[in-house]
């Protein structure tokens, strides 16, 4: 304050206000658009109510199916994170501390190798995947597990760093627990925050993923949105808003989880 | 980063000052409804080294920060050389301050850090460099001028911080628990070095700490604080031998808390009459504070059984249990080697004691936790 380290309240609210308004405009425009009555001007609730009408299931079948695909994708991706990434991270933390750097590097690589590059090499891999698992959209989750690695890793690792995992498991072992008990009763309850955060972020990333789905010719929420947008931009706008809001709520919950932990 | 600290032998003549007088008169500081400083009065002589001592939350750091201007006070006066500086901003008060940790600017070398205050005073470059090097020499780090903070140990960082604070020849030097974040051994040698430098330069110094051994070791006078109030100011010896309040008696040094009776103005403990320190009180049951070194183990006297005995290098501390179940801690020379289970006899040496009124249901006697 007097030291000049913080902005005055006036400065703060001017900056936040101006930036906030500019950033709100596209969202407001999207919302306003969803109420527009065709190209003629005027407003209507039809686009919203149409979602619940009798024809809705038929008219928007493609879209609802795409949403279903994305839900399945989210679930499978989270499963991959929980079943493959999480145990590996715990194992490395407990038994292979020298590999921590390697693991960290691996989980950062997907940032340097973006989806648009990865997908060039995924096409041949997926021709084999299709032979084994069929061509359903859910197999995309294998690729998604990689794209969410940086986010999920960071979420779980910050939890692992905050909890004295090695000491706790040694203490539990010295008291007579086997490894299963250590994992289930001692470690996982303490890792709940990081695991949930990783799960939520993974869901958000999967719902917003477009590149890999599009270039591997699968249907998910985003590809369907783009397609619907060409014939019925109003519904596209509605679902875009809903998806953004849903992701926002998910991430708010992560923040609240972190807060609860530090209060307890 | 060696563990032995080089002793600086050069005095920096350009840094010597005459020492300012510092006075706090009726200083009050509130944080909302919590009164952190409750009308503090403190008079510091030129060149004096004063320690503010007390537990967490007693207000010692608040008082120091009020002196520095980093906290604004709600009432009272702060005088430096007779001038009230309560309204003067920190950067104009001409003080030097050493913080507990992490205060060196990380992107600057030690030399640049030390030069910073001189740069703020627009001292020309050559002059600046010479004086900064002199200050670094004074703290024994002349060869570390090009090192960055992350290349220095904790003790070395604090010495650079000290040089940085002193190079501008401030009127007052303020130290906010400068040793608390350091290893025990470094703490002891660095506090002696701080004291030596301070004496040579003659700068008025205020030193905040929660470690009573540290305060007693370095300061000319110590102010013991509790709940925003100064309980007692005095030389280390005065505080130790004649504590003015039971809090001071308890906080400074170790004490046994023993059940006793105040009768006729004298404290009666195990049949022995001792003088009372501090304010006179009504007769009645009291808890007396007896120092471990004021009890002797001898051939006859109060019977007791040894529970445990610890060898502390230059002395021994022995815990005994008396017939009524109370525990006492006794400090004595190393030649007497009591074993657990031995039957011994105790004699109170007769030093005056502090006492506080006791409710009858209080525990019989307990050894104070150091």
């Amino acid at each position: 304050m007097r030291l000049g380290t913080e902005p005055t309240a006036l400065t703060r609210w001017i900056i936040l206000g101006v930036v906030g308004i500019i950033f709100a405009i596209p969202i407001i425009a999207l919302l306003q658009f969803s109420f527009r009555d065709g190209l003629g001007g005027g407003y209507t609730l039809d686009h919203w109510t149409g979602l619940f009408g009798e024809d809705a299931a038929r008219t928007y079948r493609g879209l609802f199916q795409a949403i279903g695909n994305s839900v399945v994708l989210a679930i499978v991706t989270v499963a991959i994170v929980l079943v493959i990434l999480l145990p590996t991270m715990i194992l490395v933390h407990l038994q292979f501390p020298k590999f921590k750097r390697v693991l960290e590097f691996i989980c950062i690589v997907p940032i340097t190798v973006p989806a648009i590059v990865l997908v060039v090499g995924l096409a041949p891999v997926y021709s084999i995947v299709v032979k084994i698992f069929g061509s359903g959209a859910w197999t995309l989750a294998f690729a998604y597990g990689i794209t969410v690695l940086p986010y999920a890793y960071r979420a779980i690792q910050s939890n692992l760093d905050a909890v004295p995992v090695v000491t706790l498991s040694e203490a539990a072992r010295s008291l007579g627990a086997n490894w299963l008990t250590v994992l289930g009763r001692v470690l996982l309850p303490n890792l709940r925050r990081g695991v949930l955060a990783a799960a939520f972020i993974s869901v958000a990333v999967v719902l917003g993923e477009f590149t890999i789905a599009s270039l591997l010719n699968r249907v998910n929420l985003q590809t369907a949105l783009l397609q619907v947008g060409q014939s019925d931009p109003w519904v596209a706008a509605i679902f875009a808003l809903l998806a953004l809001t849903f992701a926002f709520v998910l991430l708010l919950l992560i923040g609240r989880l972190a807060r609860n932990r530090s209060d307890s | 980063m060696t563990s032995s600290i080089p002793i600086a032998t050069t005095i920096a003549p350009s840094l010597a000052t005459e020492g300012a007088t510092v006075e706090l008169i009726g200083v009050v500081k509130d944080y909302g409804s919590h009164r952190a400083l409750n009308s503090i009065d403190l008079k510091i002589k030129p060149g004096e080294f004063i320690a503010l001592l007390g537990p967490s939350g007693c207000g010692k750091t608040t008082a120091l920060r009020a002196l520095s201007g980093l906290e604004l006070v709600n009432g009272g006066q702060i005088l430096i050389d007779g001038v009230d500086v309560a309204a003067v901003p920190t950067n104009k008060r001409d003080i030097g301050m050493v913080f507990q940790s992490y205060s060196l600017f990380p992107h600057m070398t030690s030399l640049e850090n030390v030069e910073f205050g001189l740069r703020m005073r627009k001292v020309p470059a050559a002059d600046r460099r010479a004086r900064a090097l002199e200050a670094l020499d004074m703290v024994g780090l002349g060869t570390f001028a090009e090192r960055f903070a992350h290349q220095l140990s904790g003790g070395q960082q604090q010495r650079v911080a000290l040089a940085r604070a002193l190079v501008t020849r401030p009127r007052v030097l303020l130290l906010d628990e400068p040793l608390s974040a350091l290893d025990a051994k470094v703490r002891v040698s660095l506090r002696d070095e701080i004291r030596r430098i301070q004496t040579e330069l003659g700068i008025t110094t205020v030193f905040v700490t929660h470690d009573q051994e540290e305060a007693l070791a370095v300061a000319d006078r110590v102010a013991v604080m509790k709940d925003g109030v100064i309980e007692q100011i005095g030389t280390p010896e005065e505080l130790y031998t004649t504590p003015a309040t039971p809090f001071v008696a308890d906080f400074v040094g170790l004490s046994n808390r023993v059940s006793a009776e105040l009768s006729g103005g004298k404290v009666v403990v195990y049949g022995k009459k001792l003088d009372l320190l501090g304010e006179p009180m009504h007769d009645g049951p009291v808890t007396a504070y007896i120092r471990p070194e004021d009890v002797a183990i001898e051939g006859k006297g109060i019977p007791a059984t040894v529970v445990a005995s610890s060898f502390l290098g230059s002395l021994r501390r022995t815990q005994v249990v008396l017939d009524d179940g109370s525990l006492l801690s006794i400090q004595h020379d190393v030649d007497t080697r009591p074993q657990p289970g031995d039957a011994v006899f105790l004699r109170l040496k007769g030093a005056p004691v502090s006492a506080v009124p006791r409710t009858v249901n209080a525990p019989v006697a307990e050894v104070a936790v150091p």
Partner: protein, 303 residues
Amino acid sequence: MTVANAPALTSTGAGASPRRQSRSGFAKYLGLTPFAAYVVLFLAIPTVLAVTTGFFTEDGAFTLDNVAGIFAPNVLATFGSSFWVSAVTAVVGAVIGALVCYALLGTRAEGALRTVIDSLSSVLAQFGGVMLAFAFIATIGNQGLITVFLKGIGIDIFANGYWLYQLPGLIPVYIYFQVPLMIITFMPALQGLKATWAEANATLGGTPFTYWTRIAIPVLAPSFIGSLLLLFANAFSSYATAAALISQGAQIVPLQIRSALVSETVLGRENMAGALALGMIVVMVIVMWGYSVLQSRTSRWQR
């Protein structure tokens, strides 16, 4: 107290009780194989494929033709456009984002304002792509909210062509997710400014001006530039937004890859995509290497 000294009761644990000393060297790595296999299959192999297909023709013969094709004028121009868009949006995003971070200094980390801005930034920075494209079409598209509003007061923003659906149209949309990414990335650095530095500055006679110019900004510089590099990399590798806005054409490298992959007219374009992917990776590796160097400098200072 180590695992080896644990009482005998524990040795009957569910089969796998790995004790560091007693396991044979090979078996204990078993636990790492699921992850290793997964990463090899879906990260290592695709990456290697992506990088190396550029060196082969569709018949499998080694060739440098595809890589040479990168230096064809039109492809180089595409790289140039990608650089230009990424650089502009990175700089603008970094500056605005840094301003917002500054504005948030002093607010409670757990307070409503910060948590909302954190979550909002996460959403807009990472997950927006297609949806943001829609939002901008609704704002400054042909019938967009702002377009219509400005037309009403006599300003036709599309007087010189419908730029929203071409290269320049990417810029406002990219900035829209660059600013939140900057907020996420840069805020920790700003939070890492220690209060003692400002206090030391004051006790040494400095002013708020000297604090910012001599201490805070120099300390923040590596982190700021690092974040800027991250923003550059982010824009450079973005695909979804461009794909949603620009349905035909290949003005930036990701779109060039798209046309190479989905092209029905020219055979063997997948290998061209490989060459482009190689080019992209080279750029990304250089930029991310710079970012990590600056990050380690920052963490060294803000221990």
